[in-house]
Amino acid sequence: MLSKRTMLAVCLLLVVAGATWLAMRPQPVTDPAPWSAIFPASPDFQFDPPAPGSYALHRIKPAPDGRVLDINGEARTLSDLTRDRISLVSFVYLNCSDVNGCPLAMSTLFDIHDASLQVPGLRDKVQLITLSFDPERDTVEAIRSFAYPVIKDPSAEKKLEWHVLTTANQAALQPILDGYGQVVDRSDDQEKISHLLRMYLVDQNGQIRNIYGLGLIDPRLLMTDVETLLMEGGQS
């Protein structure tokens, strides 16, 4: 059973992310414009995304492997999950109360998840991965609750696959965080975990090709990078 604290945290995160998603859900497009055109421009990102394929995304470093647990409690390896697909990888914790942290990442991912419905076949090439960095509280049960709206989405089979994951313990988690370069500071206040918001673009071969921080988590930019990687592989 979930603790009251976890239930409260999950509900809070879902309400914030869901409300944001509803307010800013993508609008359908009918012409073969770049995928970034699916999303409305935001005043926070005062530029037009570049044309997909007009620039290079260099290989920054290999994404680390590691053992994780999915929402059914099954042990998986990150390398198996990311093989042959482009992955947008994010790290969150369910108790996160910094609205500029995890909820911001989640609202962007909800945008992309919903918009993927408009790009037939994208599900076969691209996926979302969200890993908790609070394994003590973000148990399998907790992440299953967190993932409930994704699992129960009537269109889930047509949208991007979204792997919500946790780890068995800190020992399993830390090498993954270190490998990605995701900084997490644990203070005496167990309710808060200080972290730098990061999202990672991992290609089909397990190479990190871009790293996004605050000011860069624009769904238009993320999808432009995804499209660029697919063009690089001749799959767009």
Partner: protein
């Protein structure tokens, strides 16, 4: 809360240093990193070793500036790196756990761990392969943090040791990622020369305005000049022609050059303000002693223009480091030759005016201020072969309090007396940045 509100909050939080609990540093850091908006605890000084002085090696010197500390105003630690490299600039990684510092002569890059014990940095890694990695870039200068990566400007190249150079990107582990050569008249790489600008391919500083996807680079001079004796160079007509005259606007995301602006006289430091609607940057020219504004016009196009003189340009005061206040209202401008700092009112960025000046010492180079602007620090060295000679070769860190109308000296550390060397770039540290 919708995405717009999210974004606005995020921008505010970013400026405040959230979600990390620690707050701010001086005001000229990469916007990607946590800031110290409270009181800095340590000042790290990347220091050039001097032959015949102390251990003769370049070193990272840590000075205690904690209020109430028994060792406040004193050197509490120093870590030498095993030789002289023409120590110059440095910058923190985006997670602010490591301080990268370069050597303009040997091209070594030293990565110091500043988070395990902020009072006592340790050498974590040395990159010995910068020239080979980058395909011939020489003189690692500015270290500008990007998420998970470090963007490094070069000053020169290993072909002719002139000013043609590039931006070089490494990941936070210290592994090479990519090289982006500056546009030249012969290879504009898709960039457009504005007016009578001639793309010279030179480099110096790099800064970015994220929400506009704009990155700017400036241009100085190559190894053959920055390693030459200053007096000798001034007498060498050909050498004096080998200075940069451009600022380049890049697409931050794609790393592609877009525009080349004519900014004659070696534009050096670049500073963007922090305001959410401030779409401009300042730079100063070393040889022509002017303050320049690079700005977005009403049509959304970026432009460059000179907006003020710094001192009397005919005297060649040689403007060097600058520091913008967190509220974007004032700008400190140091000039090396007359040892002065000048404060400019930049509340109207198109019409800045000087409101204060003070001689710091016989020479001055770098300036860093606290987030609240109340503490201002100065150091002395420009380049080993360009610093003044004899009694005029003052080497120091000086700490001042700015009370709104004048600088009041707090303490000074004499780097000559302590046998440390030539004091160059400063960066702030605080244990409060880390849990």
């Amino acid at each position: 809360m919708n995405r717009r509100e999210f974004g606005a909050f995020s921008a505010a939080a970013l400026a405040m240093g959230l979600p990390f609990r620690a707050f701010a540093d001086e005001t000229c850091q990469s916007p990607y990193m946590p800031k110290i908006t409270g009181h800095e605890e340590y000042v790290y000084v990347w220091t050039l070793g001097v032959e015949g002085m102390g251990d003769e090696q370049d070193k990272l010197v840590t000075i205690d500036v904690r209020a109430g500390s028994d060792t406040r105003g004193q050197v509490i630690n120093s870590i030498s790196v095993g030789g002289r490299n023409e120590a110059h600039h440095g910058g923190f990684s985006a997670d602010r756990r490591y301080f990268w510092a370069g050597g303009l002569d040997t091209n070594r890059i030293f990565i110091f761990d500043v988070h395990t014990d902020p009072s006592n940095p340790t050498l974590h890694k040395t990159i010995e392969t910068f020239v080979k990695d980058s395909g011939g870039v020489v003189g690692p200068h500015t270290f500008f943090a990007l998420p998970g990566r470090m963007m490094i400007t070069g000053l020169s190249n290993d072909d002719d040791h002139g000013g043609r150079t590039a931006l070089v990107e490494y990941n936070d582990d210290g592994d090479y990622v990519a090289t982006y050569w500056m546009p030249t008249a012969d290879d504009m790489q898709g960039a457009v020369a504005v007016g009578d600008a001639v793309a010279d391919g030179y480099g110096y500083d790099v800064r970015a305005l994220i929400r506009k996807n704009v990155m700017l680079t400036s241009s100085f001079t190559g190894w053959s000049n920055y390693m030459m004796d200053f007096g000798q160079m001034l007498q060498d007509g050909e050498a004096m022609k080998r200075f940069g005259n451009t600022i380049v606007q890049w697409d931050l995301h794609t790393r592609q050059p877009k525009k080349v602006f004519n900014v004659p006289g070696a534009p050096l430091e670049i500073r963007f303000p922090w305001g959410p609607n401030a779409n401009y940057a300042f730079s100063t020219t070393a040889l022509t002693s002017q303050l320049w504004l690079i700005y977005e016009d009403d049509a959304g196009e970026w432009q460059a223009k000179a907006v003020a003189d710094i001192g009397n340009p005919a005297d060649i005061p040689l403007p060097v480091d600058i520091s913008i206040a967190a509220d974007d209202q004032t700008l400190w401008i140091n000039s090396f030759m007359d040892g002065k700092t000048r404060l400019f009112d930049i509340s109207d960025p198109h019409n800045p005016s000087q409101i204060y000046e003070k001689v710091i010492d016989r020479q001055v180079n770098m300036v860093s201020q606290s987030w609240d602007g109340e503490r201002v620090y100065f150091t002395s060295s420009l380049l080993a072969n360009w610093d003044k000679k004899g009694e005029d070769n003052a080497q120091y860190l000086k700490a001042y309090t700015w009370n709104g109308s004048e600088l009041v000296e707090d303490f000074a550390v004499d780097f000559n007396e302590l046998q440390l060397g030539r004091a160059h770039i400063m960066r702030f540290g605080s244990a409060a940045l880390y849990s």
